[in-house]
Amino acid sequence: MDNRTLLDRMTAQFPDAVLEPVEFRGDLSLAVRPERYFEVARFLRDDPTLRYTFLENLCGVDYLGREPRFEVVAHLVSMLHLHRVCLKVGAPEEHPHVPSLTPLFPTANYQEREAYDLLGIVFDGHPALARILMPDDWLGHPQRKDHPLVEEEIAFTFNQEWIYAHKPFAKE
């Protein structure tokens, strides 16, 4: 399996879903329509001649200032062909929703939770989309490019009351 064969196969199977194939440094990446993303991943996984059964990596990227602002990148590996393909799907800023791959690949569970936690991308169909690395009461998504980079004040005895009163958990 090489990039050319796979690309021909995918464009024949999904003539309208694959938006823009890019080959960079020998790696093939396919930008797909959000509404067909799940279907494309399922086809790659289940087709007996392809068998991209292993979801190696899934992460989000914040392209601030570009439309769509967010992008989810998934790397699928075929252990049959020893070949890797990258799927990319965009999500607009005002509605950052992407279909979840967890029903197909249980390994996507934590990786999608991480992308939700740090970038605020919502994965529709995820069984338990909750924060994973940041505390549950954290406000905002720290890996977004517009998240303010501020230092946290250290609580000493003389200022701890003021600091704790302004923490998110101090509200109730």
């Binding site: 440094r25 992460c59 252990m79 249980p106 991480e114």
Partner: protein
């Protein structure tokens, strides 16, 4: 199938218990528990001593390494990679360096690749020795730890010799190595590789046929090949389930295709098979390191960096008489190099599994986004599946057999 492969969240266990809907007991294990190998919290749902459900809760060590890298130049971000998987810093260095090199499209001299392979295989031995020692310690076999750390110290001394640091090495840089290996590198490594095979026999003599060890590990924490792939298990954990997938063979990097080695594979996917696979990997690593050692000796002295002046700074001796070298030196250390726009993903076989690095460049000297596919983070998802229906004592053995490093889980 996917319903049985669900990874529970802590809330899924605690909320019904708080509401009083369950007959089972909910217990916190960690975050400060000696056998969770770091700051890992497990929420256990117990029926007597039997685990009904378990939910890992991670994030206590989150340091925002990926975010911090976005404000460093490519070369300066290398030091942050050491801090992820602190038991295998050289593997992290290599993965990041390979990803940026792929983005840049630079050629790496053969000698550099040989040194990288040699060091990464020594790193694998050192990391597996920590796993072996702590795993045995968790199952109350005290003395294995002392044997394992004896050789690990020797390997860390080699790292100190080449990089000046035992753990936070930052030795493999984008474009090559930080500096050349010292003159006594080859004899020191030779002394280690000479004793290693018999030392591995020693560890195996303590554990492989030990009835107490067999009782705690055989048939415990079984995961089949299909579930292992679905959960994204990698490394020895995947190969113990009978899947012969190793990135060094499947998609070779740094010239691994030219080395002669085998991929040890298990059958049952239990703790004992993971132990056997890792022990066999130790022997294979010694074999690869010996081949790299022979090649390095045959190659003799040579470059320790790529010769591409747009990436590697010129030698200090050139700066005094070459204007162009001075400019390159100044540009590289103040501004850094600028890879073309695009993204690159590279994965390597780290001691814990497939370590991947995804780098996005916007054409500036700082990465737009760096993401690490952390094997410990993803391997941890399989823990609930393996632990259900087992005793709490088996859970301790299970965590050790997955070999997570919490610094890498949380990054």
């Amino acid at each position: 199938m996917t319903s049985t492969l669900h990874v529970p969240t802590p809330q899924e266990i605690t909320e019904p218990a708080i509401a009083g809907k369950t007959e089972t007991m909910v217990l916190n294990m960690g975050p400060h528990h000696p056998s969770t190998h770091g700051v890992l919290r497990l929420v256990l749902e117990l029926d007597g001593e039997v685990v009904v459900n378990v939910a890992p809760d991670v994030g206590y060590l989150h340091t925002g390494i990926e975010k911090t890298m976005e404000s460093k130049t490519y070369q300066k971000a290398v030091v942050l990679t050491d801090r992820m998987d602190y038991l295998a810093p050289l593997s992290n260095n290599l993965c990041y360096a390979l990803a940026v090199e792929k983005l840049l499209g630079v050629e790496i001299p053969e000698r550099v690749q040989v040194i990288r392979v040699l060091l990464v295989e020594l790193q694998r031995i050192a990391s597996h020795l920590v796993w072996l020692g702590t795993h045995a310690l968790d199952l109350a076999a005290m003395s294995v730890f002392l044997y394992a750390f004896r050789e690990r110290e020797q390997i860390l001394d080699i790292f100190e010799l080449v990089s000046g640091a035992r753990m936070m090495t930052s030795y493999i840089r984008v474009g090559g190595l930080a500096y050349d290996v010292p003159a006594d590198f080859l004899p020191t490594v030779d002394a280690l590789l000479r004793i290693m095979p018999e030392r591995i026999d020693e560890y195996e003599a303590l554990l492989t046929g030990n009835p107490l060890w067999l009782e705690r590990t055989v048939g415990v924490g079984v995961i089949d090949a299909e579930a292992a792939i679905a959960f994204g298990l990698t490394g020895a954990n995947l190969r113990a389930s009978g899947v012969p997938y190793d990135v060094r063979k499947a998609m070779p990097y740094s010239g691994y295709e030219t080395y002669d080695f085998e991929i040890p594979v298990g059958k049952n996917g239990d703790i004992y098979d993971r132990y056997r696979v890792r022990m066999a990997e130790l022997r294979q690593s010694v074999k690869i390191a010996r081949q790299a050692w022979e090649r390095l000796r045959a190659l003799g002295p040579g470059p320790h960096m790529t010769l591409d002046r747009k990436v590697a700074p010129p030698p200090k001796s050139e700066i005094t008489h070459s204007m162009e070298s001075l400019i390159h030196h100044f540009k590289l250390w103040t501004e850094g190099f600028k890879p073309p726009r695009g993204d690159a993903y590279v994965s390597i076989e780290s001691p814990r599994g497939i370590l991947g690095c995804y780098v996005v460049s916007d054409g500036s000297p700082k990465p737009w986004r760096v993401h690490f596919r952390a094997p410990s983070f993803i391997n941890l998802q399989a823990l609930p599946h393996m632990a259900k229906g087992r005793l709490v004592a088996d859970l301790v053995a299970l965590i050790a057999s997955l070999d997570p490093v919490l610094g890498e889980v949380d990054r």
